[in-house]
């Protein structure tokens, strides 16, 4: 077709199978099953193989860290794109979870099997309770409050010299086995990813999206928006606290650097790069950004410069992100038609 750019436009058509399977499962032919399962399988097998492919212990550790960032980014994406609460305080969740796990382990002598789940729930409760008064706030104001929480907590711990002060809590128990440490977080991550995808497609996901799009309408239907917002914050902060608890046990240490800016900025950058609202996107974004950030570690703070600039560029020029683009290409035909 040799039409000029004025005479043609691109038409996008959903693939037949995509039209049929939004919500139901097509198992009539091998081709359709492959169409549905293939991308998921690539992702799962890819993540499972990553630690084996990594050359050194150091890079295996980086994969674990990337998983922790991914949990945080999943929480951020869930809150921002399904509930409409933009939380700039990922470090707050990580820090609370990390300290809770460290305290449970050191002061109460609980084993690691108990500290991680307990820290997840207790950390999420603490975060939710602290953020509860901020829940009625909208958009920017909620973002500013969440940005301030980790900074304030960090400085309070510094000033009061509690919880080990600037040294942090040392001597937290480590994992019994390197492979357990490596694969437990990967399985948790895969479970959380697919669990959350299911969750937001249930009825409750509809309520969440209602809260995001028009909270007054949800309220008019007799549904308490504060309850659903609190529930969403509980889930997201639980994911963050889980990551924090894991981090404390990996490094056998918990300190104020867990409230550092990295934990707030990288998940946001990963979500923007990977594609907000897809849940898979932030995960891929983390697996892209965290290794680069580690690789640039020898340049010191230059890595922060690097990923802030990436973040800015993506927000300015490609705000849809990678996964939204990829999903569109996978699910739709494109063809030129004459105008």
């Amino acid at each position: 077709m040799d039409l000029t750019i004025q005479e043609r436009r691109k038409e996008r058509v959903d693939r037949g199978i995509k039209v049929r399977t939004e919500g139901i499962y097509a198992i009539s032919s091998l081709e359709e099953v492959t169409y549905l399962v293939f991308p998921r399988l690539v992702l799962i097998i890819g993540i499972l193989l990553l630690p084996i492919l990594m050359p050194s212990l150091y890079w295996k550790r980086v994969i674990s860290i990337a998983c922790i960032y991914s949990l945080l980014a999943l929480g951020f994406d869930f809150l921002a794109h399904f509930v409409g609460l933009v939380s700039l305080g990922g470090a707050f969740f990580i820090g609370v979870g990390g300290y809770t796990a460290a305290i449970l382990n050191k002061s109460f002598g609980l084993p690691i099997v108990l500290t991680i789940p307990l820290a997840t729930v207790v950390g999420a409760l603490i975060c939710t309770l602290l953020l509860l008064p901020a829940l009625p706030l909208r958009g920017v104001y909620f973002a500013i409050v969440t940005l301030m929480y980790p900074l304030a907590l960090m400085r309070i711990i510094e000033a009061l010299n509690i919880l080990g002060g600037t040294d942090g809590i040392l001597g937290v128990a480590g994992f019994p086995n390197r492979w357990v440490e490596q694969y437990l977080i990967i399985f948790i991550l895969i479970f959380v990813l697919f669990g959350l995808r299911r969750f937001v497609n249930e009825d409750i996901g509809l309520v969440f999206r209602g809260v995001k799009d028009n909270d007054q309408a949800v309220r008019a239907s007799g549904i308490s928006i504060t309850f659903y917002k609190a529930l969403a914050v509980f889930i997201a902060s639980g994911l963050g606290s889980l990551g924090g608890a894991y981090l404390s046990h990996i490094y056998m240490w918990s300190g104020i650097s867990q409230f550092a800016l990295d934990f707030s900025v990288i998940p946001i950058a990963a979500t923007v790069i990977g594609g907000g609202g897809t849940l898979v996107g932030p995960l891929l974004g983390c697996f892209f950004l965290v290794p680069i950030s580690e690789w640039l570690r020898e340049f010191g703070t230059l890595r922060i410069v690097f990923y802030s600039l990436i973040l800015m560029m993506f927000i300015m020029f490609r705000s849809e992100g990678f996964m939204v683009y990829a999903q569109r290409k996978y699910h739709q035909f494109e063809r030129w038609v004459k105008v």
Binding site: A269, V305, I315
Partner: protein, 288 residues
Amino acid sequence: MGLLIYGIINSFSLALMAIGFTLVYGISRLPNFAHGALYVITGFGVWWFVHKLHLHYVVSIFLALVLMGLIGAGIYRFVLIRVRGMATSEIIATYALGLAILEFLRWRGFKGMTYTLPVFIEGSIHIGDVPVDFQRIIVIAIGVLVVSFMWLFTHFNKTGLALRGMAQDEHAAMMLGIDSDWMAIIAMAMGSILAGLSAIVLLPLGNIVVEAGYNVLILSIAVCIVGGLGSWVGAILAAFMIGFIQILTVQYIQSHFHMVVALLAIIITLIVRPSGLFGKQKELEERV
């Protein structure tokens, strides 16, 4: 007596730091989260002009201020204009820019005792029995000047009135022939020049450090939010409140709580009364 004098000085420092941010965010609704970075750049810029290019101090200050105006306009023209209207993207983009600038400066090794600016006039006088150096008196003088100038500008000048009009109702303002992008560029340029001015006045009191960038941003947000968006009276009162509480906590509790005061002020204000002490604009939209 000492508490009172240093409280006033601290309050005016806060008001100076925050006024650029208040002008941009409070009046024109453009969150410029690179404010702290601009503050620090001005410091290093003047230092560089004086020590590397061997320019006269006054010339360097003038050059740095012009440069800040250009950078501010540039941030709007090249960054903010693309995400205009999406409040969260505006914040994330400018915050990322500020973060990049500050961490770049840190990476280049701009830290430590070497980077200081000379004070304008050496010496000090005694007020009662409290010694106050001239630089701090200049802070108060310039603070009063800038605040009154900005008040007059936004109340009696056509451009200033247009800026306020944009904040109150953008569509109505555009119908009256106010060019929204052009006004935003002016607001950003002025805000950045004010950030630079506060840096030039305040930095001779200590070293130029990268951390100051983050602190200035937090303090500016605190003043702006506690005072209420779009209210000059509120911003000045908030600067005085936070300024005096800071001095009191440093005096009676511990100096580490200096920043905690500002952070808690932001959190508490947003939770209890998100439109601030004197904010009138858009009260209904801010919370459910």
